[in-house]
Symmetry: C2
Subunit: 198 residues, 2 copies
Amino acid sequence: MSSRQSSAGSRLGRRNDPERREKIIDACQKVIVESGVTGTSHRKVATQAGVPLGAMTYYFDGMQDLLHSTFSRFATSISDDFERHMATATDKESACERVFERILQASSGDDDELILSHELYTLATRDASFRSITTQWMQRSRVALELHFDPLTARLLDAMIEGLTIHRALDSEAREPSEIKTAIARITKDSREGSLST
Amino acid sequence: MSSRQSSAGSRLGRRNDPERREKIIDACQKVIVESGVTGTSHRKVATQAGVPLGAMTYYFDGMQDLLHSTFSRFATSISDDFERHMATATDKESACERVFERILQASSGDDDELILSHELYTLATRDASFRSITTQWMQRSRVALELHFDPLTARLLDAMIEGLTIHRALDSEAREPSEIKTAIARITKDSREGSLST
DNA sequence: GACATTTGAGTACACTCGTACATATACTTT
DNA sequence: AAAGTATATGTACGAGTGTACTCAAATGTC
């Protein structure tokens, strides 16, 4: 088969087993949850995935590529869920209810999602290629919210979701779910008059 | 001087030069900003601080202690600033103005504060001793806000600050400062009626 | 069945790392 | 001045790292 271009170096020969690649990403995600990006190594991931060490550099072009693939899949999956979740709302009221459920679930505590988000944000603050993952994620969140809210409100809601999730997760004492409802109510209430003077 | 207790092991003999300890923490903070916690090592910090490698284990009981000291000082410093900042407000209106300034400054971009916050949050999600730093930080933020707002509004404002700061910093396109004003206005507007049913 | 080529595995190398520990220096007290 | 002690440094060790590169196995082709 000489028709297959085997241009030297970066673009390696066709990799055959996508299941295996996926399994490595699964393992990588698990290792990150357990040990953080800091504690993630090819060897740990290989062991977790049950594949030989050599497979790491075979399926991925190094550590950066592995992490990028992992977080990319993670963010996409969250976005998919959120889009589906918001699409089930029929009016503004039920949309608020969906947002409420989302915050409650995300801040519930022992969820891997929170850990992975923070690890990703940390990478994103320093590295542009990871920042493009978060940017796209935020973009999709807003679009999902704009199904039911005006663009400004959607942005503010999105930020509110973020802040409440983080603070509820890192807080020492448990908070009433009702505070989430209050937050949503205040943000989504159209205030035609800007009461904040300058 | 036999009166000085030199109980074995963890509590080492009195360390003499607090300036040097402080200088190491300065260096550590700088290294974290540049390379992340992941890329922080005793050797890098020592080089940055201009001290010999041995000083690392002399002034700190290992890496964890160094990181903890660094983030502890960081969070305390931020809290001090924020307290002072909020204390200059005289009424609710000027308090809102202070919050606005705070968000604008924190999300301005090339600030180390953002990077360090994320690194700290990431550690806090996994390690309780770092979580106590963030918990205390949040606690002090709220108290500062409660000088001018009721407790619930203070909590929501605090979360809003967090969310807006993160999203504005990670966003690809610049946002109007006016959106911050709108957010603050909506959160701080007393809504006696909860418009969200259920 | 023999050959060619893709696909995968094992291993070795050249690092960097945290930390313990044996010295060295500076200071205090006699 | 001598002795003793607190303070600080240089260094060496064992462990763990990413990745390149050499083989082996499997697959497809004639």
